[in-house]
Symmetry: C2
Subunit: 246 residues, 2 copies
């Protein structure tokens, strides 16, 4: 969603989803760009950002400000009553600082709890929450937190109140056995088959956190999980890869 | 509120205010600093910022991201159920682009309407709205908007639902006949006396927009308007300069 055209499309598709809905976004490429313009080096390990105090400020400015507020303004223009949040707002998502092991991730937080009652109450007012991938510890500290994980945790928490579909959107139609063959979409992915495709290298890199988080959300109660293109969001039954626990 | 110590104090004083409350903030000094680090020149006319597209991005990052999200996290730590908003969120404050006259202010918006019902509903949930001084036009465009004006418009809109006190906080105890004499506080300022003190130069510069907006809020229905130090906020009847229309 960091290119104007793609964002416009996503906004239109998201606006067309019937029923209550929540959007979770990051903004990594813009953050890297802004950090560079401020003379800060972006240090990534395993595709994840090491977040020192200056980098957290950039994340807070870019995810929590620039992207959040623009997306909300555009959703409002599309008739969606959006509200741009972080996990600190209304104390919706608490996290703890990731323990320092081989790597010190800095101000990266792992989700500890979701305020399901608060989020449910907000959704019942008709508001459409738009979450930047930022959480807090309840003692004044913000954290950079993986957007895929936040989406999974929100889906799991909301499953106590609603029939939830968690949709991970990206540039492919879903899990592809062969990225060059548009007919190789895996329409249903069991956790057993996921392990096999992971072991043989068919599924790798950026897909792994989405799928790991997707299966975790299923295990924690989310009713449906799909990986798809955003143009599928508006359909009751999006085409993509549906995860099943069996 | 842009120095850590002063912010900590403001947070504590604001947290101590009984009843429903709303905070409005800007962040001009930090925006000027971030703009400078990004190689953007800050152009000010009559103390107000000319806001081109790049400057609007900085405002959105700094007011709408960095300051908003940090203040909310700190208010949550102080037991206040804060939610950090711009006027785009929940379509709460609509504005129109300031017409180009002698000066083209760029993406500066003048408040057109406040969604009083939406704000009232949010306050009734127990949430404490924290507004960054940003509005929108309902068609996807954000605007930089004067924080004092936003505060006045919110106070006027909320006067239909509540007995509202609009408090402008700054570094002095109120309007001083002589800034060097702590005993020269003007405890009550009528609009007639305001005109006199403005004409003779006693009241000038930064005070003028606050007082102009304060009297406008009174005229539009706000029940009480006071200019004071933030350490007075927690009192039912803050010491400061109270405006009266008489």
């Amino acid at each position: 969603m960091e290119e104007p055209d793609a964002l416009q499309e996503l906004i239109a598709h998201f606006a067309a989803i019937p029923g209550k809905k929540v959007l979770v976004h990051g903004g990594g490429r813009t953050a890297t760009d802004v950090a560079g313009r401020l003379g800060l080096e972006s240090r990534m390990v395993q595709g994840r950002r090491i977040t020192d105090a200056d980098t957290l400020d950039v994340i807070t400015m870019v995810y929590g400000g620039l992207i959040s507020r623009k997306v909300v303004a555009q959703l409002q223009a599309a008739g969606v009553n959006a509200v741009g949040l972080t996990g600190a707002d209304l104390n919706l998502i608490r996290a703890r600082k990731r323990p320092v092991g081989e790597i010190d991730w800095g101000f990266v937080g792992d989700v500890e709890s979701v305020n399901g009652d608060g989020l449910h109450a907000l959704l019942e007012t008709g508001a459409v929450p738009v979450f930047a991938a930022i959480t807090h510890d309840g003692h004044g500290q913000l954290f950079n937190t993986n957007a895929d994980t936040i989406a999974a945790e929100l889906a799991a928490a909301l499953s106590a109140y609603y029939d939830v579909t968690l949709a991970y959107c990206f540039e492919h139609p879903g899990v592809m056995r062969d990225l060059n063959d548009p007919n190789s979409l895996v329409a249903e992915l069991t956790s057993a088959r996921y392990r096999t495709l992971k072991d043989d290298g068919t599924i790798k890199e950026g897909m792994l956190p989405k799928l790991d988080n997707g299966f975790r959300a299923l295990a924690k109660g989310a009713q449906h999980v799909v990986v798809c293109k955003s143009d599928q969001l508006q359909f009751q039954q999006p085409q993509g890869t549906w995860l099943t626990e069996a």
